[in-house]
């Protein structure tokens, strides 16, 4: 299959190297002069929010909340939400808070599938009326909201 002259030439062979990147270890104990602490053998990896919050890195995105329509679910204007496009089907989103594409905008609402022709997007603030979406409307469920981040200071 590979002809002899097709072999990789020596100048094209490069030494593989590990990328020079270090995670800061989570320090278990104070450094002591004299005897090393036995706990140093138990250095752990630093805790990462990514590990905690991102289930599907390829399908996870951020969105900022632009209204107070979901205040009843403790999601306020200016909060950051993480959403995962892995969860899109009616089975896994029914009754849940989702990011949807409605007309030309993105919106965050609770979704309820009525039947195969209609669904309702509900806000959790009495100021906002539910939105009825019918078959044929320009609409798409983008994914489920997985985490909400709120600034406290």
């Amino acid at each position: 299959m590979i002809e002899p002259e097709d072999r990789i030439a020596l100048q094209d062979v490069f030494r593989a190297r590990v990328q020079r990147k270090y995670a800061i270890p989570f320090l278990m104990d104070y450094v002591q002069a004299g005897f090393p602490s036995p706990a140093e053998n138990y250095i752990e990896r630093v805790l990462s929010l990514d590990d905690l919050c991102i289930y599907h890195p390829e399908a996870t995105y951020f969105i900022r909340v632009g209204s107070d329509s979901m205040i009843g679910d403790r999601i306020d204007r200016g909060d950051f939400l993480l959403w995962d496009a892995y969860y899109c089907s009616p089975e896994v989103t029914h009754g849940k808070i989702v990011v949807v594409q409605l007309g030309e905008d993105f919106a965050v609402k609770r979704i309820n599938y009525v039947d195969s022709n209609q669904l309702i997007l509900e806000s959790s603030n009495p100021k906002y009326l539910p939105i009825y979406v019918n078959k044929g409307d320009k609409f798409k469920v983008c994914g489920r909201v997985t985490f909400a981040f709120q600034k406290l200071i």
Partner: protein, 428 residues
Amino acid sequence: MLYGLVDANAFYVSCERSFQPRLEDKPVIVLSNRDGCIVARSDEVKALGIKMSKPLFEYKELIEANNVQVFSSNYALYADMSRRLMSTLTHFVDDVEVYSVDEAFILADGYEGIYPSVRGLGESIRQTVAQWLRIPVSVGFGPTKTLAKVANKLAKKQPELAGVCVLDTQEAIDQALDQFPVGDLWGVGGRYTGMLKGNGVETAAQLRDLPDDWIRQFMTVNGLRLVHELRGTPCKMLELSQPAKKSICAEPGFGTLVADLETLTDALTSHLSRCSEKLRKQDSLCGAVTVYLKTNKFRKTPGNGLPAKHYYKSITVELPHPTNSTPDLLKYAVSGLKAIFAFGYNYQKIGVMLTDLVPFDYRQKGVFVDGPNEKMLQLFTVVDRLNRRYGQDKLRLASQQYNPDWPMKQKYLSPRYTTRWEDILEAK
């Protein structure tokens, strides 16, 4: 063996649409670096007859009349979406070769137990990418990479295939190649198309059936490899780890014409900083710098409308020792520029190319010269890290500062939805 090629349709346009639903079904154009020329078009734009690689102003009326949406290239967004795309593919198969920002070859053998049919594999890749990234991709399968590429083209062209084309039987392959224009084949290009057509070869099938000797004589061993691939014998393997590039270059055009040495030097510094950063990223050193300078070949002299005098010159400066530090490289590049600069022309482009690349570990002291300055090499790895963290060109050479609005002219840049906090999507 069965190879697959996954290719995003009008990738840059699709990335913009992914975060801006209002762009769906509308004509959309993405411009190159510095808003120079058109690098991506949606189907609606193709239908208007707007061609690739043309400067925007050539289509000014057409764009206004049809309300074409124009974007500067948002490389931060495209790079992130590309990373997501490639990573998504690894959920389906083990072997993925990232071929370019928007295409990847996959090895589709041995998944019979998981995916009932190859077509089914293609369809689930398409469906998943559409759901996770909101961008359309086409998938082509064939017994060789070249045939997978052919299949992919067909998947894009023929709507009835619904984005997936499988060439896994001899009849299917023969039928596809019978109508496939020879110029559209991977690796044929303009140079051979004319020659082949002159010899009466119009389709891929005709090329496949030519004798080996003829191919070798007129199209070198690479042509022979292509023909073998068309016959179903794999000659191009999957390259799973990217080989380091053999040369690195940058030559974005100016938005306007430039006549003075000072601006040129400034542009050269910008390009060189970018190139040497790439060089450091792939852990290489370079042994030679090439600088070239050119005027617009098609420019007419204002007033009389005669073709303006064209100037093109390049120079290669060999370095005493391989290096990747920006000031070192700049010293040689600038002296090169001074040597080729001629007064009295309006320059359109200045380009810089780094060649004779060697791995970082390969550093040799010459007999009469010292090796590269180790401190400088280390300094610039730090500079790169800082710039990655705080934004491009935050830390730069002073000579790069001469013109603060030089580096990018991006009038139509969309938000960087996935890489900047201030740019993320907002829910209404």
